[in-house]
Amino acid sequence: MEKPGYFGQWGGAYIPEVLYETFRELREVYAKAKADPAFWQEYVTLMGSYSCRPTPLTHAENLSRHFGGAQIFIKREDLNHTGAHKANNVMGQGLLVKRMGKTRVIAETGAGQHGVACATMAAKFGFACTIYMGEEDVHRQRPNVFWMEKLGATVVPVTTGSRTLKDAINEAFRDWVSNMDTTHYVMGTVCGPHPFPEMVAWFQSIIGQEARKQILAAHTKLPARVYACVGGGSNAMGIFQGFLGDPEVELIGVEAGGKGLDTGQHAARLASQDASPGVAQGYKTMFLQDSDGQMRDTHSVAAGLDYIGVSPLLTDLWEKGRVRFAAATDQEVMAALDLTIKKEGIIPALESTHAFVQAFKEAGELRGDQAIVINQSGRGDKDIFTIAHAFNDPSWKEFIRKKGEEYATR
């Protein structure tokens, strides 16, 4: 039998002793909730009344026609409250926090989506909230910082290490080891020490449960392939879980190819040859690290994918050959984003667009009576500063310049 918290040889709980009791309590509360059908019902009801669930499955007819192959369907996690699948996880963990009687939540955030979602949950449930965000990401995702602060959260820019997501996770742990009595750490993805990978995957499984029913209703058959972007892996695990038991459905995880896999400036753990097994941030997985075990700098246009590790669940599924991995470059992402906006009037987040890139590359290989599903993990219009910058849009730049002048003269 596998050790609890392990998926194949990956996962575990490499935690300092000071958190031992905290994790014991968390495992217990999680196990109780999982065994209690009323808990899941409460969760589904909450997501229905607060976050637009079930989210629709949209048939992208124009894109399907454009590529002349498979029917392309898009699972619309962007229509969640706060604009991404992150809402599923934070509301689920929020319900557990209530059960534990804790009064404060902390979280790491990369793109700011998880931070905004967590701050929203804290506002609704009446928890104090502190969000750790790498200084580099604070600059990249300023509008999300604005909203987190408006929602009542304290945003702490993290200036250690590479000042991105991994460093924000370290800082959140440092807060937690001081304040575990009152505080729950709402880990944003299917990474970190057990039970986080399994627990976050459970909350996100709502995506796959819906998607499976929806594609059967819309297309009468299972899809040939399902695509999802992979940062830590939570939206991917969310949708994949709906199809893991269907061997005929191919599952494809798409990582950040950054400036290209051969440049070293990317965040592709499983789609490149650059990662190796390691233990960091409380769990064992494939990490982008050097031969001494020091973590490397990663790069992606999408802050939410810019991370050194990947879910132990996905590493296991990759190793077993159940999930195939690919990478999309920054440049390919901008082209696919432009096409999706123009053809469908849908604006995916930069993270989500990685999945679109790979689906677009493969749609033409399939027949018109086959379907593929793309998980649109989030919406891009919130990231207007990042996306306008990435498109290098001249009139937007002019607008920002004028705004700057306006504020400067006041």
């Binding site: 935690i15 300092p16 390691g278 233990v279 960091a280 990490f287 075990g293």
Partner: protein
Amino acid sequence: MQLAEQLRLARNKKEILLMTHLVLGYPSFAVNREVIQQMVANGVDVIELQIPFSEPMADGPMIIKANQDALANGTKVAECLAFAAEMAAQYDIPFLFMTYYNILFKYGVEEFLRKAKEIGIRGCIIPDLPPEEGEEYLRLAKKLDLAPIQIFAPTSTEERMRTLAGHGDGFIYCVARRGVTGSKTEFDASFDAYLARCRRATDLPLAVGFGISNQEDVRILTGKADLAVIGTATIKLVEEKGAEAVGSFIAGLRG
């Protein structure tokens, strides 16, 4: 002689032992060498050598910076091992490695421990490796007669402490408070109750660390703990006043 036994004998001669800590390669191996010379000359009993890691999750700002700067200087694990070999050969006191598990994992746990043994290291402190995840490490450490130092925290129950002590050897590292390395510790009644719990749970010598920074702190621990651990305080001192300030600081700690 086994580390625990050696520390017990040393304790018979001194009211409290001093264990100091430094980050290898920070600010340089040359400064590390000078600091260690002064520490040993002024009566330090055990030295903890931290091999830098890019994700020092259990450390506070000062030691994070030391880890980061050491790596930015290009410090490699192989150099740390060579330096540790040099120190262990030169000085008669026990040296330990402190680092995070990935450093061992990447090197190969068995290769790392064999190497540590070969160069005269006496034990390891790995804060992110609980015994539940450290079966291979614990088995090999025992086989090689290296002390796998276990950590107690104020949040550990007495039952948990007994389990940990059963896996440990050398001494127990009692983290004085919640939080990370660096900030001040309050020695109040609940601290005394905690140390009493630690004492009940094991016969191994007890080291107390986190926030121990001056003579007063060491005085308070005397009679309650076997070793006082001075970490961030010397790193800060070297940063502010240079390596030459370490000797008199150490000499003054035991009053």
